[in-house]
Subunit: 408 residues, 2 copies
């Protein structure tokens, strides 16, 4: 008998009909002799509706009170899914994050999970009951409701799987796995049967929105066996996220091509090339609560250098404003910046042991006349910033250049 | 410094604009040096929307799970009202029923309050904080969410006032007090400055929907000073529900005329007039979960009598079905019944010490050619069942006959 945690996203529970379908799927898994914990998101559109309502009251809603009302979205879904299960004769019981309880810190709207009580769930499971838990939410030490931030339901699923030492955590979504590239861009893209955690982390952080990055980190840390599946297709095997050391299978050199248009680039020109200058630029940016993604600084000459980085597009204007006094203070020459960029990344653990990946990538882009504006690399990925209009073209030619359209 | 509990119903918090108005009103009361606890209902329409959603999953929704999802309506409102208060500079903090905590039994969808923790609220109040509590809901000993049933937000308000020994519990609604009759029926109806608890209980149970009857009982039991006010009008004094022995003021003989069209009448004809027969008829009705209101049995003759009672119109068909085997079993002659009836009641504590009220009422109805089908009396009320079509006429002529259109 296996213990399986299944997580269903907002689209999968978007209508009463779909909730009934989820109940049927859960019932099938249970009928095969498994113990099942289900984590659900709010019905699609509901979280946005609640946030919009809050903004009619306060343009910057109070975080504690926002969590109180936004968490109701998942609370409605757990009630409905538990009803749907009971309706088809499956014993079920719903729990909010506070009821489980999923203890978090008090960072409203982006809380972190500290601890999960498993006793109550274990008792229900042993009684043959399916447990339906509200994703995305928890409770702090004082009993206030917290939420984990966007995509937090994935994290709830993985955290429950870790706490219960589940055999597998299944993330049901509207795609049937992780692909070598976005199939809307590359028709030849193939579903990966497996992908390593490190690759998945890079893919997630690079704009492949199949899994929320925090949940992948969490799964990696607690060695949770994670699988991505479709809640619409008939039962397939999806994509299993593997631990490199666990699974003996041969890894492909490159697993996939990810792309993201969510960023903007900023270059501070003619920066005095002296120690501490990076901190003088990025310190104020961090203080303004802006996350910086790529950072590139080349060797300087004549005591000056250019310092470039990318930020989320939503933070672009704020970042420029933050830098105005900084540029004056450090006596830099000025700023050039742009929003119309895309980041395209090649991800694969095989890169570590294979030379020539970068040059293949750069040559491929050059042959298409695509100019590379920034480059950043890690052990298992190469990211380039290019003009936004070439995004699809770049993804397609790189996908082909690395043979990802060929069955392995 | 007074401690005041204010309860706002669904219409009063029906839109973001109205929630802001409530916040302004709360702020004014606090600025006058009062400590304020606010109890709110779900935004109007929200509870029905949630119940409809549940019924798309289960025609008879599981009660525990129904409470889980329906309770989210109030949870959204507390978040919004706390935001609205903070937005205008008032310290505020929201609490769900479980957070307060309002401990109830486990009778889902119609739970009863057992105990309320006041420590946390007291600490917040002493810190100058307005407390915003979700009405209609609580939590049972196992931590499951419960609801108190329709109108339960009034009960929450009164129960909190009792627990905190509040100086006054103010129920804000869409009318500005209790009237001598429904102003839509009797244009001359006057707002009562005071009404006794007993009268209010009769009025509430007789179809005057200003206050939910359980909340009035609760207030009477715990000696909570209760006031009904309008959340739309400028601040008036509303109607104060008084304890007869507390307040020295002279009571009117008759306080008001109430009417209700929610009932149906059933008469079992030719019932053997022997001990235990009432139980044989009403026992099965009670077992079918039907509440019986008026019960009338006259002296029999020839060993037979007729046994009449009224039930909620929604229970009418079920009751008839329940009685079919009973009628055979007790060898009664048969059943006559009707849905097209109304109950009109004259309420007033002065009845106790004044003779002739009943005869005035019966004469007044007779003069209009209105036939009385059933009569039932208590110490402070006289109820008659009449043909539904005469409802308004009966209310108007009784209102006039007892001089309720004259200022006191």
């Amino acid at each position: 008998m296996a213990l399986i945690v299944q997580k269903y996203g907002g689209t999968s529970v978007g209508t009463p009909e779909r909730i009934k379908n989820v109940a049927q799927r859960v019932a099938r898994w249970q009928a095969r002799g498994n113990q099942i914990v289900v984590v659900v998101s709010a019905m699609s559109g509901e979280t946005n509706r609640l946030i919009a309502l809050a903004k009619e009251i306060q343009s910057q809603p109070d975080p504690r009170e926002l969590d109180v009302m936004v968490s109701t979205g998942e609370q409605v879904t757990i009630g409905l899914l538990a009803m749907a299960l009971k309706e088809i004769g499956v014993k079920a019981r719903s729990y909010t994050g506070a009821q489980v309880k999923i203890l978090t810190d008090s960072a409203y709207t982006k809380a972190r999970i500290l601890k999960i009580d498993e006793d109550r769930m274990r008792a229900d499971l042993n009684a043959g009951c399916v447990i339906v838990v509200a994703g995305f939410q928890g409770v702090d030490e004082l009993g206030s409701i917290t939420t984990l931030g966007r995509g937090g339901s994935d994290t709830t699923g993985v955290a429950l799987a870790a706490a219960l030492k589940a055999d597998e955590c299944q993330i049901y979504t509207d795609v049937d796995g992780v692909y070598t590239a976005d199939p809307r861009i590359v028709p030849d893209a193939r579903r990966l049967k497996t992908i390593t955690f490190e690759e998945m982390l890079e893919m997630a952080s690079l704009g492949s929105k199949v899994l929320q990055i925090r949940s992948v980190e969490f799964a990696g840390k607690y060695k949770v066996r994670l699988r991505v599946l479709s809640s619409f297709a008939d039962e397939g095997e999806g994509t299993l996220i593997t631990f490199e050391d666990d699974e003996g299978m041969e890894q492909a050199i490159i697993s996939g091509i990810a792309s993201s248009r969510d960023e903007a680039k900023i270059t501070v020109l003619g920066v005095p090339d002296r120690p501490g200058i990076a901190y003088q630029i990025l310190g104020p940016v961090g203080d303004a609560n802006v996350d910086v993604d790529m950072i590139v600084q080349n060797v300087g000459h004549d005591g000056l250098t250019d310092f470039s980085f990318t930020v989320q597009r939503g933070d672009y204007q704020k970042t420029l404003k933050t830098l105005e006094p900084v540029v004056k203070h450090i006596q830099a020459r000025g700023i050039v910046s742009g929003e119309k960029i895309a980041k395209v990344s090649i991800v694969g653990v095989g890169m570590r042991s294979h030379a020539g990946i970068a040059s293949t990538a750069f040559r491929t882009l050059a042959e298409e006349g695509i100019n590379i504006e920034m480059i950043s690399t890690s052990e298992i990925k190469i990211s380039v910033v290019i003009d936004e209009k070439y995004t699809e073209l770049a993804v397609r030619v790189l996908h082909k250049a690395f043979g990802l359209d060929q069955a392995r």
